[in-house]
Point group: C2
Chain length 239, copies 2
DNA sequence: CGGAACATTGAGAGGGATCAATGGACGTGG
DNA sequence: CCACGTCCATTGATCCCTCTCAATGTTCCG
């Protein structure tokens, strides 16, 4: 895993609002900046870490796009989530001091590595940071709860619609378009996340497109009728 | 939600090994014991909290059995997990200071309520406690990752087998039988957890029983052939 | 230009859902 | 003590959503 190491400077970072607790003292900010010493460059297709790797740091995505996944002994892969700018990866490693999932870059990316022991030490002095960590972890739990609902109760059509709307919404929060998506993952990866096969994903894209709900051209997707996509679950019986 | 309030004493509690960080100072133990002031009695069918309730405390199960679930606006319910003695409930509430899921007792139960603000304050002074909290949250994330794999990649048969083995294993860790289960939930609730219908659950119980893998009599289940149940995923193509 | 990776589309099969009927267990009230 | 209703579990018949297998098309890159 070859990586370029850059220098990080949290105080100048445009992500400081998402990444840092709000109301964080400038003293705390300086110290946090000090421990976030390294910024890594991960190329498309490279792994940030793999299941079994020793856990040392959490990673904040500076730029780029990742997937995290779990691989069974027999090769089956479940994608746990797609992470974009400002999101955190690596929380799975804390329990056993080794990672239990894989994190792979779906495009050339940069991440800030936050050494976990340093972070723990610093969060002891700064309540805001401590609370922020709890919030981030709780947020991840709540996010996964939503995915459980998706996988346990929704049909393929509703899953894909939910997925597209979620991507668009997260982009929107980051100041990008709410309706236009440039997908970073293959149909197969979408399927591995949604618990359906790639052919089903492809068929549904075609179906949505034929209905006029979206406009698809390979990885480019434009959401034309978000209200309809949201309502898919209402109109059909459930899984 | 009527609840009896009892007094708690962590230092005397038989759960202190699971509940407390190892290597926790006796001073810390005493202080933690002080904030875990209340022990609640929740009867079968009662809710400990519901989605939307303000978040105040985490809860450790002293005795009994719970389910946590997410309810969609249209009434669909996804069970997120079943919790038994020594396990923690309520982490979902930290992010938004209100709970996002429901927690209901499946049998008469007792829980220790740990006020969250007190816990945060105390964990500032005690690194071991702080680290313990991180581990517990990370553990929950890793657990949910496993459920995602189950829902996303496994067929019904494998899901149910995995579920039974998981229950048995957790019982075993707590000193109970590794092979005999007294289920606390209905077939429908098992299905709502595994993403399948209650009829399918029932049919699979019958199938496993006919194969000699388990012995079923209503809520009583005895695992006769754990190795076979573990291997179900190998022999059939996946979802 | 040819190959690899990705995407689309069709035909057929199958696993689980759905609809429906039956039976046991349990508690309540006559 | 039995009758009755309710809740839960079992089992059958049928349907349909999604998987599987397969062929073809597109894009990109060596």
């Amino acid at each position: 895993m070859k990586q370029d190491i850059l220098n990080a400077a949290c105080s100048k970072c445009s992500l400081s609002e998402t990444c840092m607790p709000q109301g964080f003292s400038s003293d705390g900010m300086t110290k946090l900046s000090a421990i976030v010493a390294t910024r890594l460059r991960i190329r498309q297709g490279q792994s940030l870490f793999k299941a079994g790797d020793p856990f040392a740091s959490l990673y904040v995505i500076r730029s780029g796009f990742f997937k995290t996944s779990l691989t069974e002994s027999d090769g089956r892969e479940q994608i746990l989530g797609f992470q974009m700018v400002g999101e955190l990866i690596g929380l799975d490693g804390i329990v056993n001091e080794s990672h239990s999932c894989n994190a792979k870059a779906l495009e050339d990316s940069e991440v800030c590595a936050i050494p976990y022991t340093d972070l723990e030490r610093l969060s002891k002095e700064h309540s805001a940071l401590q609370h922020h960590m709890h919030q981030v972890m709780s947020h991840e739990i709540v996010r996964e709860n939503g995915v459980l609902m998706l996988l346990g109760n929704m049909k393929a059509e509703e899953r894909l619609a939910t997925f597209l709307l979620n991507l668009a919404q997260r982009q929107h929060v980051r100041g990008f378009s709410q309706s236009e998506l440039q997908l970073r993952m293959t149909r197969e990866e979408i399927g591995m996340y949604l618990g359906i096969k790639l052919e089903t994903v492809s068929r549904l894209f075609s179906k949505f497109s034929a209905e006029g709900s979206i406009d698809v051209k390979k990885r480019y997707v434009k959401i034309l009728n978000p209200a309809y996509l949201k309502s898919i679950g209402d109109k059909q019986p459930h899984l």
